[in-house]
């Protein structure tokens, strides 16, 4: 990022001087990199956004016509549910949720099929719950949507860079993700990849450096979603993050994180004063995070105790009230552990010891 601030300090797609052209090339290389990583048809199909929330808003609001029915899952983040709720309150759409099973994607798929209506025009769902790691079977859902002519939008916030995602193979129309999670990019970056689909309408209009005599927003990717100046240092760093994944190996990253969570879960789930919410024994795939609570202790207090001892986690509702309502944790929230490729076995064992000692700290049974 610091190099980008110095070397790529001009606005791409606006001027013709050397720095502007070099910056334009750098941004395009980032598009190529990410398009290749997710098997998008063209680099042009990759638009950069402020974050995943922006990407989801553009995709959802760009896919609707008045009166449309939308289907989503019961574990969605507010970045999906809040736009849907607003559209519903404004009388533009109706929406329903299908039940995700905590361990069996086949059951989830059956629930999804049962929830589809004749007027379902859009399916938008998360690939993996950001609270409980539960997966939705997006490949099967995508195949169904393609057959039925339903627009399919995926929130890959908790899976991009960790689980395999192929936009063509999975028949995804819009794939949305943040830069700062599994893609190892900085905060303030996001990606919206289209399969070539152009949106029906836009959310934000402004200068794009293209078609500048026209008063309407360009309709083609990526310009349609990129009004205003882009976060070039962020984009450059995000592309380096993807290079890191390529160099390290996405599977290696996933297997390392999965191993950490399975080891962590195998120990903490035995502790009688700890409540876990997912059964990981025998589970094939999940996003490697774990939510738990120390019984009788508010989740934020547990997180504060961990933080005071050098373990940083997020507690509360994780901007995903629906997921917590589903699991009965909307009053307590949960403490979410999320290891990375940089987490060591010693780190995990230390966290286990802290959880083990929690009753002494909180004087609970």
């Amino acid at each position: 990022m610091s190099k980008a601030l110095r070397v790529y300090g001009a606005n791409p797609g606006r001027a013709g001087h050397k720095m502007a052209m070099e910056t334009g090339k750098k941004v395009y290389e980032a598009r190529e990199n990410i398009a290749d990583f997710f098997n998008a048809p063209l680099p042009d199909c990759v638009a950069f956004t402020l974050n995943c929330t922006n990407a989801l808003n553009y995709a959802i609001k760009g896919s609707i016509k008045s009166g449309i029915h939308i289907l989503t899952s019961d574990v969605e983040h507010n970045s999906v549910i809040r736009p849907l709720e607003k559209l519903k309150k404004d009388g533009i759409i109706t929406y329903d949720t299908f039940k995700t099973d905590t361990a069996d994607c086949e059951k989830t798929y059956k629930n999804f099929i049962a929830a589809v209506k004749p007027d379902t025009g859009v399916v938008v769902c998360t690939h993996a719950s950001n609270v409980f790691g539960i997966l939705n079977p997006i490949e099967k859902i995508g195949k169904f949507c393609k057959e039925k002519g339903i627009t399919f939008i995926v929130d890959a916030a908790q899976s991009a860079g960790i689980l395999p995602i192929d936009i063509k193979k999975f028949n995804i129309n819009y794939l949305c993700m943040p830069g700062h999670k599994g893609l190892f990019g900085p905060m303030g970056t996001g990606v919206l990849i289209s399969d070539g689909t152009e949106p029906l309408t836009t959310v934000i209009e402004g200068g794009t450096g293209s078609r500048s005599l026209h008063l309407e927003q360009p309709s083609f990717m990526p310009d349609v979603f990129e009004a205003g100046t882009q976060n070039v240092p962020g984009i450059a760093a995000l592309s380096e993050g993807v290079n890191f994944i390529r160099k390290t190996g996405r599977e290696k990253i996933y297997n390392t994180e999965k191993e950490h969570i399975l080891h962590f879960w195998s120990e903490v789930s035995k502790m009688p004063y700890v409540q876990t919410y997912t059964e990981l024994d025998g589970i094939n795939d999940f996003s490697p995070i774990l939510s738990l609570n120390v019984k009788g202790v508010p989740s934020e207090k547990t997180a504060a105790y961990l933080s005071d001892n050098g373990v940083y986690v997020r507690a509360g509702l994780h901007c995903a009230p629906c997921a917590h309502i589903k699991m009965g944790t909307e009053q307590t929230g949960t403490v979410r552990f999320s290891p990375s490729i940089f987490t060591t076995k010693e780190d995990i064992n230390y966290a286990i010891r802290l959880v083990k000692n929690a009753p002494d700290f909180f004087k609970t049974d």
Partner: protein, 72 residues
């Protein structure tokens, strides 16, 4: 030697167009278009001076949004 100037609608199209040409052995450069294109506005142009017809055909086939073509 004259060059072909292919005016395109955006920097992204320009970069993609250049890559397509170079992947097919045609050396190309991108410059800011010196004129504001009628009905379009400001933009970028891809310049190349070899295999002109082949280059234009490659760009069209790839769906690069071409705003205008000139020999300069």
């Amino acid at each position: 030697m004259s060059k072909i100037q292919v005016k395109v609608s955006s920097i992204t199209n320009a970069e993609r167009g250049r890559k397509i040409l170079e992947d097919n052995g045609i050396k190309a450069v991108i410059k800011r278009s010196s004129e504001i294109a009628a009905d379009e506005g400001c933009g970028y142009s891809i310049f190349f001076n070899s295999e002109k017809e082949k280059g234009i055909a490659l760009l069209r086939k790839a769906g690069v949004r071409i705003v205008g073509i000139a020999e300069v």
